[in-house]
Subunit: 260 residues, 3 copies
Amino acid sequence: MDERKFSSDDIVNVACELLVALHKKRPRVHCITNAAAQVMTANLLLAAGALPSLTYSADEISDFTKSADALLINLGTLDAERRAAIPLAIEVARDQETPWILDPVFVNASAPRLFWANQLFASRPAIVRCNRDEFKALSGQTCELTAIERFAAFWGTTVAVTGPEDMIIGDGQCIHIRNGHPWMNQTTAMGCAGTALSAALCAVGASPFVAASAALLILGITGERAADRSSGPGSFVAAFIDTIASLTPDDIIASARISA
Amino acid sequence: MDERKFSSDDIVNVACELLVALHKKRPRVHCITNAAAQVMTANLLLAAGALPSLTYSADEISDFTKSADALLINLGTLDAERRAAIPLAIEVARDQETPWILDPVFVNASAPRLFWANQLFASRPAIVRCNRDEFKALSGQTCELTAIERFAAFWGTTVAVTGPEDMIIGDGQCIHIRNGHPWMNQTTAMGCAGTALSAALCAVGASPFVAASAALLILGITGERAADRSSGPGSFVAAFIDTIASLTPDDIIASARISA
Amino acid sequence: MDERKFSSDDIVNVACELLVALHKKRPRVHCITNAAAQVMTANLLLAAGALPSLTYSADEISDFTKSADALLINLGTLDAERRAAIPLAIEVARDQETPWILDPVFVNASAPRLFWANQLFASRPAIVRCNRDEFKALSGQTCELTAIERFAAFWGTTVAVTGPEDMIIGDGQCIHIRNGHPWMNQTTAMGCAGTALSAALCAVGASPFVAASAALLILGITGERAADRSSGPGSFVAAFIDTIASLTPDDIIASARISA
């Protein structure tokens, strides 16, 4: 539990420091992620300064997780191979106190997936990143501030609910971010890639609450700037990667729309 | 069986209406598709106004199919997980009268895949979208108009054979489309993504014959316009998505090269 | 064993001829490759004039390999399905004297993968393409010229070690290539796609040593020219495909930085 309370200015300043730290430390994030998110996740991490690895084979997942600095578990395209690998990866992460992050994609669309996701909470993800419908399915409640606070406190995790306004809740605090662009929802895997950035920021030492807040701030600003250089949701994908690769602390300070 | 006969002008007008309907109704298309087509298929559907889901796990496929508005079955990268999931998905689709569409990728290159594909016809796909070599393998005949008509009538399906000129045959009718651009064949998954658009148009109420004709018309026009904004087959992919996201009924009317 | 010794000018000239031959003969390269590399590999092969196929199912891999002109085995995302298919594909390739190429991705990160990779050498890959860390893991030695020469000679293979300077070693010869751009390492699957191009050049009749040298020369030059047209590592991907699709022999001659 991080005792310090963060103002919105604190988050902006820490986001700037973390972006620089990523390029300097180049942490490796192991990502068990869905089939439609693998390329975007890998390219986003590379552009932001981190190194991705993507293997999801049960035989090899322990070795890959042991040498990783953070672990991302994304439940999209949850096939038998991934279902076998995920618990092994989480076990290694917990043994080594490597932070692991959960992205419970589409738990609202499949009862077996919801059951599976709920079991993972006992292994204490550092961050859960989801949209409103996924939160409702996970918690069995409406997606309101107090419900999210209770859920985060009960499981000792940070919950980041993304949408037109992102809410990041953990450590008894709440941050709201209003950066972003509608094309981020019109492009597959943009949310998944964002979760990977949260994992990368944990890997360079940020607390889960700060990592999730800083990651979603960086991504929202990247999305706005990328949209200015794009002709539609297709060219937006490449512009998003170009933008994050050259994003500066000054860009973050100039564009942040964040409140505590 | 749709009793009405469609003129080429009818198809153009209906394509315009369906494009608007997609953005309004936002149907979800569940896609069991190949590993190289997942990202392109998801992004094309999103840009055209539909919502993709891509899970191919046997445990979850029933839940995902139940809540979907159309189902796409693409036989590329046909691994054990997909082979287990496909019959389950089709069974749910048939029970619920959800239209399902078949893309028998590379059946001409593998005897086990051809055998597998042939068995699926008993479950009555609404549309089969294939190239000339795939049709020859499926039908055991040459790819000529009368052979395609016989095949379509025998299986009670619409057959769309794509190439420099697309032929759509079903309900005792035939439409020819001459829109398109050679880069559509120089880019992986463009045909697969096109099949997904046919599924999306079925999902907003078009008959299979009309959905396949309108989808291939929209895609061909998108390809021509995207090529005008591209420097080669690489930038063409992003331009294709940008173009379909902003395509208007006027664009379709102005560019259609179609005959009945 | 190719008896002829190649000068750097020879490699440049042969690379020009092979690029033309690819577009003329359009060989099919079957690629068992990792989940993050499939789209890029397919699009690069298509843009360079070859045809990709990507199936990795054990049931079908023999049929797909039988009709292919070269075989690529990439060990990224080495799941159970791929582990079952790879030996079957290699067996067909050997029976038919189809060249097969190995890309031992991340063997340095996983003991089971290293064990698996080492067993494949007995089946005599025509080319092994790896980075320095992967070579160290494979050979148990430092990545120096004499160690690579010994390894190549012992296994009767061509070894291509890529990095800021590429080294291609085989047939008692060595070629150094200094073309390329840092964004090639900031984009997932660029190395994997390069290995696929080596396979395509083997498929049009080049010896493994010449194919690997010409492929890495073509890719390095493509990377430099693509970077000139890009705004960052995101737009670089599309520009890379655009560039290789329009690359001419004159471009290769003008830009080659190669020494024997």
